[in-house]
Amino acid sequence: MSGLALQNVVKEFGAFKAVNDVELTVPHGTFVCMLGPSGCGKTTLLRMIAGLDLPTSGAIRLDGEDITRVPTHKRNLGMVFQSLALFPHLTVGENIAYSLRIRGAPKEDQKKRVEELLSMIHLSGYADRPVSKLSGGQRQRVAIARALAISPKLFLLDEPLSALDAKLREAMQVELRQLQQKLGITTIVVTHDQREAMTMADTVVVMSGGEIRQAASPIEIYRRPADSFVADFIGQTNLIEAESDTRGHVTVLGQPVPGLQLPSGAAKATISIRPEDVHLTAPGAGALTGTVTFVRDLGGTIETFVEVADRQIVAVSTPRERPEVSVGQQVGLALTPDVCVVLRK
């Protein structure tokens, strides 16, 4: 099979399991974002794919070939580090040409390739500058060009945009995604920024505690989170307990929601409802009734905090669709079964 496959990969540091039995397949040409809080094992996993760390057990395969024990320098990959790790003693051009020079490519070929890459990252004419004279965004591009110089099979990036300011970061996300689509290169990015993951990835891999919680497309992750960790980590959500009686009638916070089904045999489950799926109505008309405790008017959207049976539920609505309610008033919350995602325990 062409692409990258991780099979039962485990990494232990002493008694600590940094990566626990990870199973993942990345088809050729896919853009994967590994997302998770710090210490979830995502960087360790990336370093094992790069060969900088060895897995305690398990196998890593690239295009069907077992590369678990192949040393880093023989893997033909490109990697961008969080610190960028540009060589301070080399110019921009020399940095980009480093992998070609190491492989003994002829000087003219190196020069041609450097020019090609510099024009790709919109830095033509910068070849002879020292890297210390570049701005943050320019250094970022040089690090990307350097990693892509040999047209690697695998493009790995470890928190590549974390050093940039918010505006530049969003621009670079789009640019990086476009570049990846143009080159069709298998790319794995480690990030803790969910916006970044949603913007760039074909597949988002949510990790926590060294395990993969869910691997799916961004919209699937958002719409159908597998468990409460994923639902809570990606975007904002309301996590509410739902109960089912013996006849299969489901109640949420003591009020029945017709049409909602829990997994067979389960008497209780947690459901996730995105704030934009909670619709405010007149009291009594909706499924649930509660009291408004706080209103955050952000101009474009309005967040309404409603207390229902001692639980706080957040509803996000646009000013047009939202009824006029203020703090202390009673309000109805309309829940339809299709927006309630039943989470795995």
Partner: protein, 284 residues
């Protein structure tokens, strides 16, 4: 934050004490030495104030020129050996666990507490015929009979490298600790074997540090006085040995002073070279 330079004389007052100490214990004796180097020597061990260049002229003779050349060559050899040994050693040391680093650094610092005399006699025993390391080689069947390795140039070099090695490590250590470890990792992902990464990334990135260390060890070795006498033959004696010989045994103060001034000038010249090399490195 912008800092303003001191405004009044009182702002400079903390400098008074060190300035006074430097003047009394360094500037004045050094001035005396320069003055004496131009004095006229009298037979019988005295000298009279004068302004003659005889002492410097004598220094330029073939013999003393030869000794100066040898001293330089020896100091350069010590500096190169030390850096060649200490650079990979320190590089590996910085990549070890904190505990291991501390053990090694304590061991190295304890070498600094040994006097030159102890180091000299210890090595002369180790290199001797009766109790030396060749006896081990004989016992292992690698040599037919034990022999003395001292006095020789190699023995002097070994002793001096041993003495200068801890300094070299201590100077290189902070620079290597600060070196971003992802630089070598980046080189490896780009296709460089660990050895190639060391030579194409670590060594060039530390160029200035390496040059500064070479010069520091060179100056350190240039002043070596005891080890050449303990481990070497008279032809392995350095300029420092001759200065002592002239000053104490030949009672020729003006000539000894002239040689000392010359040594200081050479040393200062090298310090200037380091500064220039450092500036060039920054500009590049």
């Amino acid at each position: 934050m912008r800092r303003e330079p001191p405004q009044t004389f009182a702002d400079y007052s903390p400098l008074l004490f060190p300035a006074a100490m430097l003047t009394i214990f360094f500037v004045v004796p050094f001035g005396t030495m320069i003055a004496v180097s131009f004095f006229q020597r009298q037979q019988g061990g005295f000298y009279t104030p004068a302004f003659v260049f005889d002492n410097y002229a004598r220094f330029l003779s073939a013999f003393f020129g030869g000794v100066l050349g040898f001293s330089m060559m020896m100091a350069i050899a010590v500096a190169i050996c030390c850096v060649l040994l200490a650079l990979p050693f320190t590089y590996l040391l910085t990549r070890m666990a904190r505990r291991v680093q501390i053990v090694w650094l304590v061991a190295l610092l304890s070498i600094l507490s040994l006097s030159e005399v102890i180091i000299g006699f210890a090595w002369s025993t180790l290199f001797s015929r009766t109790a030396g390391i060749t006896n081990i080689l004989v016992a292992l069947g690698l040599m037919s009979e034990a022999k003395a390795l001292t006095p020789s140039f190699a023995a002097v070099l070994t002793g001096m490298v041993y003495q200068a090695f801890p300094y070299t490590v201590l100077v290189l250590f902070p620079a290597l600790v600060r070196l971003d470890p992802t630089l070598t990792e980046a080189a490896r992902t780009l296709g460089a074997s660990p050895l190639k990464a060391f030579f194409t990334v670590v060594v060039p990135a530390l160029r200035n540090t390496i040059v500064a260390t070479l010069i520091m060890v060179f100056i350190f070795a240039l002043g070596s006085y005891l080890l050449p006498q303990l481990l070497g033959r008279p032809q392995h004696w350095t300029l420092s040995v001759l200065i002592t010989d002239q000053a104490i045994y030949q009672s020729n103060m003006p000539f000894a002073a002239a040689m000392a001034v010359f040594l200081v000038l050479v040393t200062l010249g090298l310090v200037a070279l380091t500064v220039i090399a450092g500036r060039k490195g920054e500009a590049a």
